[in-house]
């Protein structure tokens, strides 16, 4: 499921004194099955961008094509767009409303007009994907669950629509390290298993650096940088200047290079650093 965005502009409150350009000539391509990370601080335009992909916001100008299907064209049926692109909002647990977990997750697939049997199958599958046991959880009220469980129910609610492209906006916001690692692990497994396109929006360089094949950095409504985590982290000075940090380990390798230590491999994770340092120490 490839996505092509061409010259996307979005202006809020056009023609009023509050006019703001939220997106400014954004063009990018995402290949089928890629794991993409989008980073940028609050107000950089990343939320506006992903809402376009789901058809929630119409562009002021520009075009978005999802697998040869122009979702920005006139008279596109929104259910068709939502079958293709699933969007999990920030703090998605705040959108839960049904009496039971299973019924809440079924809300999305039911809206797509699927029959009861298929819906149930989708719900079961989605719950398994986020690590919730169907039998014990299905009849529970979503409101008596813990914060982390609620969030998984909410994510399952989008997964049950079986979108080809899954977008998650800050899925780990507000979670503790354990909850964060669990969710990220599940997203990673999901991507491996279903081979669908995943777009992860995050503040955390460490998280996206670990998971994504390619990163897009947003700043002031523009696509400021793109490339593999390695290529993006190389621009650490620029990243810092727009209020984004690089992982500590990247800073370490930069500092070592500055000291004249001959690091050969490019380093993104702790494991990379360990192997490289062991090699250096061993060769001494």
């Amino acid at each position: 499921m490839s996505i092509t965005i061409e010259h996307l502009d979005h202006i809020y409150d056009k023609g009023t004194p509050y006019e703001t350009k939220a997106l400014d000539d954004v063009s990018l391509t995402i290949e089928t099955g890629e794991f993409i990370g989008i980073i940028g601080h609050t107000g950089s335009g990343k939320s506006t961008l992903i809402q376009h992909l789901n058809g929630l916001i119409k562009p002021s100008s520009g075009k978005i094509v999802v697998n040869d299907f122009d979702i920005t064209a006139e008279k596109v049926k929104m259910t068709d767009v939502r079958k293709k692109v699933g969007l999990v909002f920030q703090y998605p647990e705040y959108q839960l409303f049904e009496e039971t977990v299973a019924r809440d997750i079924a809300f999305g697939p039911e809206n797509l007009g699927l029959d009861a049997k298929t819906v149930e199958a989708h719900v079961k599958e989605a719950m398994a994907l986020v690590g919730l046991d169907y039998e014990t959880m299905k009849d529970k009220s979503p409101f008596e669950l813990s914060g982390g469980q609620k969030r998984r129910v909410a994510i399952a609610g989008v997964l049950a629509m079986k979108p080809d492209v899954l977008i998650l906006d800050e899925p780990t916001a507000g979670l503790d390290p354990k909850g964060r690692d669990e969710i990220l692990m599940q997203i990673k497994q999901l991507h491996r298993k279903n081979k669908n396109t995943v777009i992860l929006v995050s503040h955390s360089m460490e998280d996206v650096g670990k998971l994504a094949d390619r990163l897009f950095v947003m700043n002031k409504g523009q696509l400021a940088l793109s490339g593999t985590p390695l290529e993006v982290f190389r621009e650490s000075e620029f990243l810092e200047s727009i209020g984004l940090g690089v992982p500590q380990i990247v800073k370490l390798s930069e500092a070592l290079i500055k000291k004249g230590i001959a690091i050969e491999k490019e380093i993104v994770t702790v494991e990379d650093a360990k192997q490289e340092l062991l090699r250096l120490l061993g060769s001494k």
């Binding site: 909002f89 959108q95 809300f107 989008v158």
Partner: protein
């Protein structure tokens, strides 16, 4: 959509009217409303018009901004006009089928529309020139004498402040939840009334839950900041009547005297 409604929204400029004490403005507005019902002769509205125009000029709020505020209630104005036009008995000047327009009907329709418009323009002038906080403060002070008969003046004012504080937050939240449910295929825009009402459940349930959670947390935060009702509370901003407030009161007194006087003369 929601931001198009400008009626009564505070218009932040510096003007003589803005500077007036909120208590005097609230009192004047209240008496002004009563004065509109004292008027029985359409010609007296000429005087009201002059009075309003003078205030609008002094308030530095653009006239078309005020008129734009009338938009949401345009239908009600038309309705009042039509009802009075056709329903007033008297000397017929136009007759077609069941429709019958009388000279008294025309008079009455114009009269009612003027009263309605002046009612709204007058009250929105109060909110246009008085910040919500000043308004709340003013109401609290004006209600204080009624504390003796058990009216919770401070509590009412605090409720108003909190409501004002949370309206933007809840609007933003509504927008967010609406989008999140739309991403799950919810449809808020089509279908008959029954279907639309049903479609609101996924919006309203989370919204209520969130509002209750917010209320709970806010109560805790207020308690942590030593809030314990109106007793022994001091204020950073204390209201004080100035010369200009007295002057405004005198001018308005003159206006009321004229209105009342004209009622007996005409």
């Amino acid at each position: 959509m929601l931001r198009d409604i400008t009626i009564g929204q505070y218009y932040p400029v510096e003007s003589a009217i803005h500077r007036l004490d909120p208590r005097i403005k609230i009192s004047i507005s209240f008496l002004y409303l009563i004065s509109l019902f004292i008027v029985k002769d359409i010609r007296v509205f000429g005087l009201v018009t002059l009075f309003l125009l003078m205030i609008i000029k002094m308030s530095k709020v653009p006239v078309n901004y005020i008129l734009r505020g009338l938009k949401p209630i345009f239908l009600i104005i038309i309705f009042a006009f039509v009802i009075n036009l056709f329903m007033t008995p008297g000397d017929s000047i136009f007759h077609y089928g069941i429709f019958n327009i009388t000279i008294q009907g025309v008079y009455q329709a114009v009269f009612m529309v003027l009263r309605l418009v002046y009612l709204i323009v007058g009250t929105s002038l109060l909110t246009l020139t008085t910040s919500p906080i000043a308004l709340t403060d003013g109401i609290e002070h004006l209600l204080t004498p009624f504390k003796k008969i058990g009216l919770p003046a401070h509590e009412l004012a605090m409720m108003m402040t909190i409501a004002l504080r949370f309206i933007p937050t809840l609007l933003e939240e509504t927008d967010k939840i609406m989008k999140a449910q739309m991403a799950r295929g919810a449809d808020f825009e089509s279908g008959n009334i029954f279907n639309r009402a049903k479609a609101l459940v996924p919006l309203l349930v989370p919204l209520f839950i969130s509002a209750f959670r917010r209320a709970d947390e806010l109560a805790m935060a207020m308690e942590a900041r030593c809030y314990r009702g109106g007793e022994n509370r001091t204020r950073m901003k204390v209201l004080k009547y100035e010369k200009r407030d007295v002057l405004a009161g005198l001018v308005f007194g003159l206006y009321v005297a004229l209105i009342v006087g004209l009622r007996f003369i005409m």
